[in-house]
Symmetry: C2
Subunit: 328 residues, 2 copies
């Protein structure tokens, strides 16, 4: 009997979850919930209903885990605690500073209802967090480095598109190779924001717009660009769609740490991702944690969890015996 | 109150555990057990007793976790189940093919005594296994690659030293850069043993020994060298001691996998280690898992576990709240 998964929200993440379920024989897509008119939402899987979000309660006993594919700014803080009353839930909440608050809200709701909720699942937060945590536990005396990219940052692309005179735009975050090499050197250097990443923007200007003013507005934008070396390219809408429609991303997590009686030896732990599709990879992680949520709930666990609380074996469709034989 | 750790066996691993404990404020070295005459064993930590292995039972209530630092061939299969009767235990059992058997023996002993035993802890098996497992769960449709080195292989160095006419020797396992690049390409190539690694040997010949015969014996040695491109350098004992006494190691675990409705996107997950000291890094992992064993035992868990069964948070000295705030 397969594990029945529901999807709440059918954008890039929802579609990614749908594709990932298809690759896992023990999982089955039960229903998709949307805030749009279900008639207008066409999904890829045949025979699976698209329902109004308000109908979710009717599915209470027909879904094992609901994967919530909303945005972190306004959707998830409301949706995850609410849906945790009905289902075991997974989300990819990624506003790092607000994780403690979100954890508390989901924990209260999930405990009251006897469900498991796993929040902040994906690659950062998610797999990158796991690697930071393992590496810190193993090498307490050391320094962490996280680099993102090369990849498209949705937040920075959105910020560009809000500038007057900008019709469309994409922003790539790029790690500086020399900074990566320095992090790998064992010298544990302090690296500034500017030293670690550069930003490259591809912008479609509206006809007659002041390109110099747009470039200046981008490069001086507080928080988003002012602390970085930023390059701006003006291109046509055709070129943007042809060359910059994909959503690649990735990055590097390093820890450089010392061991030995007098800390005489250095070690580098490095984890990296090179992703053709950020949403498809993120949702592949979500789906593996949905399996974990189901199993933890089956065992009687309740409340909010993060990737730190989930024993790795719960993520795999294989039994403990198979895992020890084939992957240990 | 700190967690009291015992060490069984005081060689490179035992000394590594001792150094790692020093870096963790919540851990304390309680005693070292040895099969040698304790009078002849000088440890680094002041005020900690060195005891005969036979006295271990006297320490039953004075040690929270015993880290067993024996060899996998003959020590651990006997020691780990035996000590699991007295203590929560950790070992680094690394004979991959015999893990199921070892697991069963430790599981039976630990369950009967109400203890936790975590076996096959280190980096391979250990952290590399974890990364293979996480990556397989996330990308079910893909291919795994593991590369070892550049580093000293004890097993291969021992094999060289058993050849008649060889006085001393060290062997380095080296990943082939082109094979690493191929694994990272997203093309999921099949790579042969010979394509993945080369072996480099530094040999001290006895006076008058037939060097050509030694070189031939190394290069044609079944299992160890015959499937590899091997280079042999004859050097003086002085040079060997000066240049090849360190125990660096490391390696790479990659998974290249597809996502998307028609598997149209590729992703590379890569984990790598670059270690100045193989035994000190291995024991840093052992010590973090000792903390986990203590906590799992405190919660009433019993039996044999592997890295797959241990929730990451158990490894860290930080609380769940601190972890979510600082590392998620």
């Amino acid at each position: 009997m397969s594990i029945k998964i529901g999807i709440a929200g059918y954008g890039n993440l929802g579609r990614g979850v749908e594709c990932a379920i298809r690759q896992n024989e023990d999982l089955e897509l039960a229903a998709v919930f949307t805030r749009r008119d279900p008639e207008t939402v066409k999904i890829l899987t045949e025979g699976v209903p698209v329902c109004r979000a308000e109908e979710a309660a009717d599915w209470k006993d027909k879904i094992d885990v609901l994967i919530i594919c909303g945005g972190s700014a306004t959707d998830l803080p409301v949706q995850t605690p609410k849906f945790a009353e009905l289902f075991n839930v997974i989300d990819s909440f990624d506003t790092h500073a607000k994780i403690p608050e979100h954890f508390a809200a989901v924990d209260a709701a999930a405990k009251a209802a006897g469900h498991v909720g796993i929040i902040s699942v994906g690659w950062d937060p998610g797999l990158f967090s796991l690697n930071r945590m393992y590496a810190n536990a193993i090498l307490p005396n050391g320094k962490d480095y996280t680099f993102w990219g090369k990849g498209v940052s949705q937040g920075h692309s959105d910020a560009i598109r809000r500038i007057p005179g900008v019709k469309n735009g994409k922003q790539y975050t790029i790690p500086v190779p020399e900074a990566l090499d320095a992090a790998r050197s064992g010298q544990n250097p302090e690296l500034t924001t500017r030293q670690k990443h550069t930003r490259e923007c591809f912008v479609v200007a509206e006809e007659g717009a002041d390109k110099a003013a747009i470039e200046e507005a981008i490069k001086t934008m507080p928080n988003y660009f002012d602390e970085y070396d930023t390059t701006v390219h003006f291109i046509s809408e055709e070129e943007l769609l042809a060359e910059h429609s994909a959503m690649p991303h990735g990055g590097f997590v390093l820890r450089s740490g010392k061991t030995g009686w007098d800390l005489e030896n250095n070690h580098i732990i490095e984890y990296s991702l090179k992703l053709d599709s950020n949403p498809e990879f993120t949702t592949s992680v979500l789906v593996a944690y949905a399996r974990a949520a189901y199993r933890m709930a089956q065992e009687g666990q309740t409340g909010c969890k993060t990737v730190f609380d989930v024993a790795p074996a719960y993520l795999s469709a294989k039994s403990g015996e198979e895992l020890r034989k084939s992957l240990l």
